[in-house]
């Protein structure tokens, strides 16, 4: 078989992260029973609840990203000259994906729909992030650094901050029934 080229490797990696994220994060809201939500309702406020969900899913996705990075390097080889910087990038990427999908899962769960609705809502919103991530990944994949990649990382981090802020502001409206 041989090892894939670096662009294919990179594309496969981020696609894999996307599907891991859809499945892992969707579970956190869509498999929550009515009784358990009622229990959460009695012990916590909406802001604490969404903050803890965001935090847990971010950690979960970081672990998932690192595990799949390890498996990729093990099975598909290592095409990167700077693998250490890619560890940081995949942590940032996994976290960014998880934040968006956590909030969308909260919306989809309130609409009492299956994961299909989350995919419809999520894919258009996540494509810009994936575009950014695959550009930022060039830091690890190329010896010659292109300009503007630091700006893109800053934009992605800023986007994450904005998503957390919006979740905190908007989730209370999804919480009360």
């Amino acid at each position: 078989m041989g090892e894939p080229e670096s662009t294919v490797w990179k594309g496969l990696f981020w696609m894999m992260q996307l599907f891991i994220c859809v499945n892992a994060v969707a579970k956190s809201f869509l498999q929550e029973g009515k009784g358990r939500l009622l229990y959460f309702y009695t012990i916590a406020g909406p802001k604490d609840f969404i903050l803890s969900k965001l935090l847990f899913n971010a950690l979960l996705m970081i672990v998932m990203a690192l595990v799949s990075l390890g498996l990729f390097v093990l099975m598909l080889g290592n095409p990167m000259p700077n693998p250490l910087s890619f560890v940081a990038i995949s942590c940032l990427g996994g976290m960014s994906l998880s934040l968006v999908f956590t909030f969308l899962a909260a919306i989809a769960a309130r609409a009492q729909q299956n994961a299909a609705l989350m995919a419809i809502l999520g894919f258009p919103l996540i494509i810009p992030q994936l575009l950014l991530l695959s550009k930022i990944s060039n830091i690890a994949f190329e010896d010659v650094l292109q300009g503007g990649l630091a700006t893109m990382s800053a934009v992605l981090a800023g986007l994450d901050v904005m998503i957390v802020a919006l979740s905190l502001i908007l989730f209370p409206f999804l919480w009360k029934d």
């Binding site: 609705l117 419809i120 258009p124 810009p128 919006l166």
Partner: protein, 235 residues
């Protein structure tokens, strides 16, 4: 203000001015662009109109969440639909322009991708609304998604395409519409004529649809529509 006449007349005058001055007025002779530069009055102005309509829609979504007034939900929905129409028009005029300047209707440019993503985000908004039947819940969750989607839309079409290489003007940090793209002859048609003209047309269409939606709901409140009555009987 909505029912006044003057701004509808103004809209007509501005659009007639745009068409006449746009097709007959002088334009700078540019290589590659040639006469297609006149598309600026249509393509770019329609994107402006779309952004204005989506912004109004978000303002009404915020107002809905603050007041729970059902009227604002209708406003937000109809402004989104109006914005979608202008988005599709802007996308179509853009790809026709791209056919004659870049050589193909679609060339996977970051700006084109951003435009398609923007349209998909708002189509998903309509799907989300239609997946719920309870009116209050639909309005509230729709408003939450609308605000979230708008906040995600801004980086998608305003920041990210500027950071990437693009065929489209406005890439790599330099804004479009600067002095060496268009001259003063074009500017007097574009800013006072095309942008407010298309925006007012969008608002006009939307206000008509809002009045229609409110009337339909009032009518249905008194006499449920046949298919609804059937649903009630079967339930």
């Amino acid at each position: 203000m909505i029912r006044q006449k003057w701004w509808k007349i103004l809209c007509g005058i501005l659009l007639i001015y745009t068409f006449i001055a746009g097709f007959l007025g002088g334009v700078p002779a540019k290589p590659i662009l040639n006469e297609t530069i006149r598309n600026l009055y249509f393509h770019v102005a329609m994107w402006f109109a779309m952004m204005v309509l989506f912004t109004i829609s978000v303002i009404y979504s915020v107002r809905y969440l603050r007041t729970n007034n059902h009227k604002y939900d209708i406003y937000a929905l109809e402004y989104t639909k109006g914005g979608l129409v202008f988005g599709v028009l802007g996308f179509t005029t853009g790809s026709i322009w791209a056919r004659w300047t870049w050589g193909a209707f679609w060339s996977s440019d970051p700006k084109q991708l951003g435009a398609v993503i923007a349209l998909l985000i708002y189509l998903a908004y309509l799907v989300l609304r239609n997946s719920m039947t309870d009116m209050d819940k639909r309005a509230r969750i729709g408003a939450v998604y609308n605000i979230f989607a708008f906040a995600m839309l801004l980086p998608t079409i305003w920041i990210i395409p500027r950071l990437m290489e693009s065929l489209h003007p406005g890439g790599m940090g330099n804004p479009a519409l600067d002095t060496h793209d268009i001259d003063s002859r074009m500017r007097v048609v574009f800013w006072p004529g095309a942008v407010p003209g298309w925006t007012l047309l969008g608002v006009w269409i939307t206000t008509l649809r809002i009045r229609l939606a409110i009337l339909t709901e009032q009518k249905e409140g008194l006499h449920p529509a046949p298919n609804q009555a059937r649903k009630l009987r079967n339930a």
